[in-house]
Structure formats: structure tokens, C-alpha cells
Symmetry: C2
Subunit: 331 residues, 2 copies
């Protein structure tokens, strides 16, 4: 850590931890490409780089954190396996990581989870326990599973090994990009990806400003930053179903200290961004993954784009697990 | 050319022509990646490599042939520009190529062309003449434009420079793939991509078998091969709107002599292939571009997959220009 943040008293993954994580997970993850589009650059008047974690193993950046957590577990904990509650990409990523290490994964999923997600967790060998779809029910079910199996909980975003794993995404960006970017924008749900991105930026690209991009309908990070304290998500409502969660005790201090701001976008911009990435980049990104482009589209429409004009901007496309039967527009 | 096809009397682009074309177009095209999916490989029991020409400039392999044709034109022809009739990817690719060389492109388009395609041609600087949507009308309108402008017609698939340009796609495949593939499957419409693929295969991977993949509703290449003579397309009917055309005088002899077969698939397999590539690869491919996967899905369903099992297969994903408002399934 440099002098600039030597005053930071909370936990932050450091350079050697992130590099070790990257070596540890390298055999099990993709080094995802940075995509560009001349036409999009012209349309937005900036140099955009899309970090395509939609092409990541199991379809999302979550594989980085899950693999790092599972492969850095103490030997004596391995036999009993790992557990979590998740209806989304972390469930798949953890089931896959556990399978790679040959240990069991116990996944608590709400009983209304889309069957395609249930099937994906099963295809990686995850053992599923269903529960009612409320947070208290999920936590209760997870506590039971933990007690019964002795398995180790791997939290989707608050676990330090998970955050350190997610930091490898920005590490790759700074290695691969042809110019040091002016901005990096990452979606923010629980804050694992954003806090990991901030950790790598502090180390490898301290001149880069990092923004979080959040749905207006799930704006707990924005509110927390405004009020200077962690405010949990309440009745979130957005199509970005991967960003409904609240910040955690380990992600919030990092975000509060290092982020340049949280930008918001309504679902209408999220849908427009999905369509634009489809048309210009020919890629499938899930709603939660297009937030960085959505906030740029909104800022342009509101005449607030000037700070981004003629600058280089990395947009982290966090995942691509998007059911073709759930297209949020009328074809 | 090797002894094995020294008896071939028709025109076939040779090694030095393809290598020159590749150097000529390299500054203006993408070297597109080969994508793989562990899950898809398991599902199909083969090693599949997807050559992603959906990521190509202007969204399709057509940029290769168009750039090669425009950049190998005689100096004295340049001022008058180029022309073609096309409602599809060749129109965009030619307009773009002409723009890159600073010469005019006159594009005859049927008046019922989707507005998104019209806008794309205009965005590349193409000058559009509209005509009624029949082949005679298109040819008449093109003859008029040619007479009025003195421009050089660049045929979408029968022009030797276009075929030579398309051959660079397979050249890249053989350079980039980690194993010599058992099979390459390319969509076939007018046959420019397929004949170019055959030309490169003869030179760089003579042990590889090349198949064409064609919609059952536009099966002129299949019929032609069956009957041993060029049979034009009649009232084709398929969602693969890039594959409605008939083989040409230059593509047909190459295909007849070197192709290992033409495989057919109905629209239902085309739609299934689009969805599968969306779900597993997270990419957008247009209906015409998924024919190689569609024919594999059909052959598996019909119990005829054994020749492909445990083999390495390259599937050429020819383009990604697919309007999100035209999804061919009910979300």
C-alpha cells in the first residue's frame, strides 16, 4: 500500500494477496478479453473497453472469488465441504469450484429460483436445499445445513478470500489495456466486485477513478455513501436481479474510502444498454452486467456526460447468465 | 496447389493470392477469436471451436471479401466507385470498405429492407438506390446505377477477389487452432464463404473435411450437389435470411469438387442453435450464422451423429447482425 491510503484502518487485500490469488485461480478461470467497438466509441465520444466477464467460467466474475476461496481453504476444513445461500451466479460458481477441488457444496436456494439456475447448480454437482424466498428463511436454512454438515460458509461477497479473488479482474484489466484508463465502472450489489476493483486500482493504477453503477431501484450503496453509514437494501425493485443485496461489513469500508462515486440508472437505461451491447458488441450480458453502460447512457441523456467525453473508460460486464425466455422488451 | 487437385480445371484461389489478400485486409479487419465451451463439448461429445465472425467488422465475414475487392481494384477504376445490390451484410461491408478507401459506394436495396440495415449502410457512407424487392428489379436498378455512375460492380460472392478474401477466414482458423480439425462446417448461401474455406483447406489442412450447412427451406446447394449441376434457389423460405441466394458460376465448381457434403437443417434447429449459443457462449449470432450448429443438433436428434462424436469440429459463425426486435421465439 502506498502512503496515500496508509491511513486506511479497515481490511484491504494487498498486492501479494491479489497476485497469489491470481496464480491460484489461473488454471480454473478464463482470462477474459477487453472488447471495443469503433461505432460505440463514436456514438459516446469516449474510448470504451468492455471487460467481458460474461465469458467467464460459469458465466460470471463470481468464479474468481469462489475458486480463490475454495482453493485457499485450510486442508482440515476440506472434507466437510462448503455452503452458501444464493439463487444466482455465486451458487453456480461455488458449486463449480467445489467440484474442481473434489469437495461437496451445499447450496441453499429459494424455492422460486428459476429452474435453469437450479439445473446449472446441479450440473456442477451442487447439493441443493430449498427454502422459502425470504432472507430470514434463507439464513435459517443455511444455519441448519451448516450444523448438519459442518461445512464452511463461503459468503458471496463479504468473505475476504472472495473479495481478493474478485480483485484479479481489475488486475487483468490493468495488465491488458493499451492505455491507463481514466475511469473504471463496476456494477455494485454486495460490493465484492467493486471493492476488489478498488483494491487493485489503489495498487496498479492509482490515477484511475473507479465508480460503482447501481440500479435506482436498489440504491443502497448510493444511499450509504450519501449518509456516510451502511444502509441496507429495502424492498429493492429492478430487473438487475444480481444487484439486490446490501453492502457487507468488509466491502462497505473499502467502497466508502476509495470509490469516486456511485452512479444510478433506472431499468429503462438498463434495457437500452442490453440492446446496445447486443447490437454493437454481439454479446449477451445479463441485466446486472450492463449497469456501467446504463449509467453512461443516462448521464449522456441528462447532459452530464462531459466528465466522460474523450476519456478512456473500462466497463466491467460482470456476467452473461441471462435466460433467452426472459427478454425484457417486446420483440 | 498439391497433386491431389491438380486435375481441377476451374478457378481456385491459390496460396499466394490468399496470403496477399490476408496482408492487404489485415489493417481493416479483426482477427476473430475461436470460442469454446466445456459444457457444449460435453453435451455434444465433440471438441467444438466457434470461429466468431459475428465479431468481425460490420458484423460479418463479408468484410473480408469486400475489403479485399475494394483494395485490389485497379487505380483507374477507383474514382467511379463500386456498386452492388444487397439487402444484407455485403451491402454494409462494401459501403464500409469503399469508405475506408475514400471512394463512393452505390448500393441498390429493396424498398422493404429493414430500416436498421438501411441506416447501417448510410452510416458507412453508402449511397442507396431503392427498388422493388424482386431479383429482376434489383438487377435492373443495378444496371441503371452502373450506367449512370460508371462504378465497378462487386458481386457479393461470385467475384474472385471476394472469394479470395473469404478464404482468409479459414486461413486464420488453421493458424490459430490448437489441433488440426477433423471437420469445418460453414453456412452456404451463395457459396463465397464455403468456396473460400475449401480453397484454404486444400492448401493448409488437406486432412480436414469441409461441410456446407444449409437451411432445408433454401436447399439449392444440396440439390445441386445431388444432381451434379447448378440448380438455382426457387422460392426459398427460412429465417436464415442471409442464405436465400443461389450458388454462382465461380463458387459452384469449387464446392462440387471439394466439399465433403451439404448438411441440412430446418428452422426449428436453427432457433435451437441460436438459443444454445446464447446460453453457452453468450454471443449473438444471426440465424444464417448458426447453421453449422443447427445441422449438428439435427444429426444428433436423428441418431446420425456418430461421425462427429469425439472429433474436433470448427463451426464458422458467419455474422451477428440480428435485430433484437426480431427474436424468433416467444420470450
Amino acid at each position: 500500500m502506498t502512503a496515500a491510503h496508509s491511513d486506511f484502518r479497515s481490511w484491504l487485500p494487498g498486492q501479494s494477496a491479489i497476485l497469489s490469488a491470481h496464480s491460484r485461480i489461473a488454471p480454473y478461470i478464463h482470462r477474459t478479453p477487453l472488447f471495443t467497438s469503433r461505432l460505440l466509441n463514436e456514438e459516446l465520444g469516449s474510448r470504451l473497453y468492455f471487460k467481458c466477464e460474461n465469458f467467464q467460467k460459469a458465466g460470471a466474475f463470481k468464479s474468481r472469488g469462489a475458486v480463490n476461496a475454495v482453493f485457499s481453504m485450510a486442508e482440515e476444513r476440506l472434507l466437510s465441504g462448503v455452503c452458501t445461500h444464493s439463487s444466482g451466479n455465486h451458487a453456480q460458481a461455488l458449486a463449480r469450484a467445489a467440484g474442481l477441488r473434489g469437495i461437496p457444496a451445499f447450496i441453499v436456494m429459494p424455492e422460486n429460483s428459476p429452474s435453469v439456475k437450479v439445473a446449472a447448480v446441479r450440473s456442477y454437482g451442487g447439493q441443493i436445499t430449498f427454502c422459502p424466498p425470504t432472507l430470514p428463511d434463507r439464513e435459517r436454512a443455511l444455519a441448519k445445513v451448516k450444523a448438519a454438515t459442518g461445512s464452511t460458509e463461503i459468503h458471496p461477497y463479504n468473505d475476504p478470500a472472495v473479495i481478493t479473488g474478485q480483485a484479479t479482474c481489475a488486475r487483468e484489466i490493468y495488465e491488458d489495456i493499451p492505455e491507463p484508463p481514466d475511469f473504471v465502472i463496476a456494477p455494485v450489489g454486495g460490493g465484492g466486485l467493486l471493492s476488489g476493483t478498488l483494491a487493485s486500482t489503489v495498487i496498479w493504477s492509482s490515477g484511475t477513478k473507479v465508480f460503482g453503477a447501481e440500479p435506482t431501484g436498489a440504491n443502497d450503496a448510493w444511499k450509504s455513501l450519501q449518509q456516510g453509514r451502511l444502509i441496507p437494501s429495502e424492498n429493492p425493485n429492478t430487473i438487475a436481479d444480481g444487484l439486490l443485496t446490501s453492502l457487507g461489513a468488509n466491502t462497505w469500508p473499502i467502497i466508502q474510502r476509495f470509490v469516486s462515486g456511485i452512479l444510478l440508472a433506472e431499468d429503462v437505461y438498463i434495457i437500452a444498454a442490453m440492446r446496445l451491447m447486443w447490437e454493437r458488441l454481439k454479446i449477451i450480458a445479463e441485466p446486472s452486467a450492463v449497469l456501467p453502460l446504463a449509467v453512461l447512457l443516462k448521464s449522456r441523456e441528462q447532459g452530464e456526460y462531459s466528465i466522460f467525453r474523450n476519456r478512456s473508460i473500462v466497463l466491467i460486464v460482470s456476467g452473461g447468465n441471462f435466460d433467452p425466455d426472459r427478454i425484457p422488451w417486446k420483440p
